[in-house]
């Protein structure tokens, strides 16, 4: 039996607002053992009366020594996400345990083509894969399809714009569901088979597909990929929850 994954105290070192409702947290975690792209952590909040609650958050970047990065989408009325995006401040402690999950991961040693499909905050673990690829100077062919409501809802916008140019072998497509920026060629609308065919890989290329986002989004995209002929065994999914988040 392996060693228990211990709770560690993390402190907020820096933060960045990604959108009006999403915040990236840079946390210092003494003793952090390192992690793979796609893994997540459990976060535990405890109040003065001893009541505590836990949620899972994906690691958004490869570890930088003892510093890890999470991006949290504020869910209206959400117990933990509202705290982490609105109240949690520089120097404050939280408890964190991880890394967790050994299935929804991408290893930089892999060379097979990869299709990443993100809905909303589902971009977080997929961004970790894009960043791990860049860090390892991997040339594995990557395509990222990122579905967001509108340009204002996009996380990591400037980095993704730069990556699309600088990271050779990485294609980035943003699909807007409600409103597209001026000049966009695709009408706003939910992601469908035509998008996955056009901006993804043909099934004959045998890509590994990582799909992450709200449950309904993941169900739909994974089923559509199967319908297009992708082998279900090459489709890995991570479902974040009911609607958004």
């Amino acid at each position: 039996m392996s060693a228990r994954i211990e709770w560690r105290v993390a402190t907020l070192a820096e933060f960045r607002n990604e959108t009006a409702t999403a915040r990236t947290l840079l946390l210092d975690v003494p003793g952090w053992p390192g992690h793979l792209a796609g893994q997540h952590v459990d976060v535990r909040l405890t109040d003065a009366d001893g009541y505590s609650t836990q949620r899972s958050y994906s690691l958004g970047a490869p570890a930088d020594g003892e510093r890890v990065e999470l991006t949290v989408q504020k869910v209206p009325g959400g117990e933990v996400s509202e705290y982490l995006t609105d109240v949690y401040s520089i120097g404050d402690p939280i408890e964190l345990r991880g890394p967790v999950g050994g299935w929804f991961v991408w290893h930089p040693s892999r060379t097979a083509p990869v299709l990443l499909v993100a809905g909303g905050s589902g971009i977080v673990p997929l961004m970790a894969m894009v960043r791990a690829r860049r860090q390892a100077r991997s040339r594995a062919p990557f395509r990222l399809i990122y579905s967001v409501r509108s340009p204002a809802d996009q996380y990591f916008s400037s980095e993704l714009r730069r990556s699309a140019v600088d990271d050779s072998g990485l294609d980035v497509t943003t699909v807007y569901t409600r409103s597209a920026p001026p000049g966009a060629t695709r009408e706003p609308g939910r992601i469908g088979g035509a998008d996955l065919e056009r901006y993804g890989w043909p099934p004959q290329f045998e890509p590994t597909c990582f799909v992450c986002g709200p449950t309904g989004f993941v169900e739909k995209v994974a089923n559509t990929l199967v319908g297009l002929g992708h082998d279900p065994r090459r489709i890995r999914t991570e479902r974040f929850g009911p609607t958004g988040g």
Binding site: R4, Q54, R55, G101, E219, R236, T237, R239
Partner: protein
């Protein structure tokens, strides 16, 4: 409530891949004993077995719990009635390739069912339909969705989530989420 869990009214979904589509005319459920004997049921045969309607609390390792859920299905005690075995362990197999391991005793004595209805309606594919294992006293990943069979064996073989870091047994009351807990 078990430690670290919170209540939800929704029914979240945890799966490693796409939801498989299983035609009922090709569906079957197989219990294989450690000496290779197989006990098989077609969909119609399963529905003819005496059914129970357990009302149980369920606890997912991703932290949500849902109280007093009602199901309809066949107790493993009924399915195991004629199975001759001295095995201590079971490995549940699913359509789509998923597996999960449990001690056989956790499937017996009214603790586990093969269920095909949830809250009075047929079990939706994303929640494991046409039929899933229901073992509510363990974390919900042990309640294999799209179940197709159970292999009985004398040794404990790790299943899918168990081999990527999740706990071998998964008791929510002892918060056995990950290996080593």
């Amino acid at each position: 409530m078990p430690p670290g869990q919170y209540l939800t009214e929704d029914f979240p979904v945890l799966s490693a891949g796409p939801t498989p589509n299983i035609p009922l005319d090709r569906w079957e459920f197989v219990i294989a004993s450690e000496d290779g004997r197989e006990y098989r049921w077609t969909w119609d045969e399963l529905l003819e077995l005496p059914a129970e309607e357990p009302t149980v609390d369920i606890h997912c390792v991703t932290k949500w719990s849902k109280l007093e859920t009602t199901w309809r299905g066949v107790s493993l005690d009924v399915l195991m009635e004629d199975v001759e075995t001295t095995a201590d362990f079971a490995l549940a197999h699913s359509y789509g390739g998923y597996t999960t391991n449990l001690p056989l005793e956790d499937l017996l004595d009214g603790k586990a069912w093969i269920v095909y209805e949830f809250e009075g309606s047929e079990l939706a594919p994303q929640h494991g339909g046409p039929a899933r294992l229901l073992v509510p006293h363990l974390y919900f990943w042990k309640s294999a969705k799209w179940v197709r069979g159970i292999q009985l064996q004398e040794f404990d073989e790790l299943g899918f989530w168990e081999s990527v870091g999740y706990h071998d047994y998964g008791d929510p009351w002892r918060e056995q989420r990950y290996q080593g807990d």
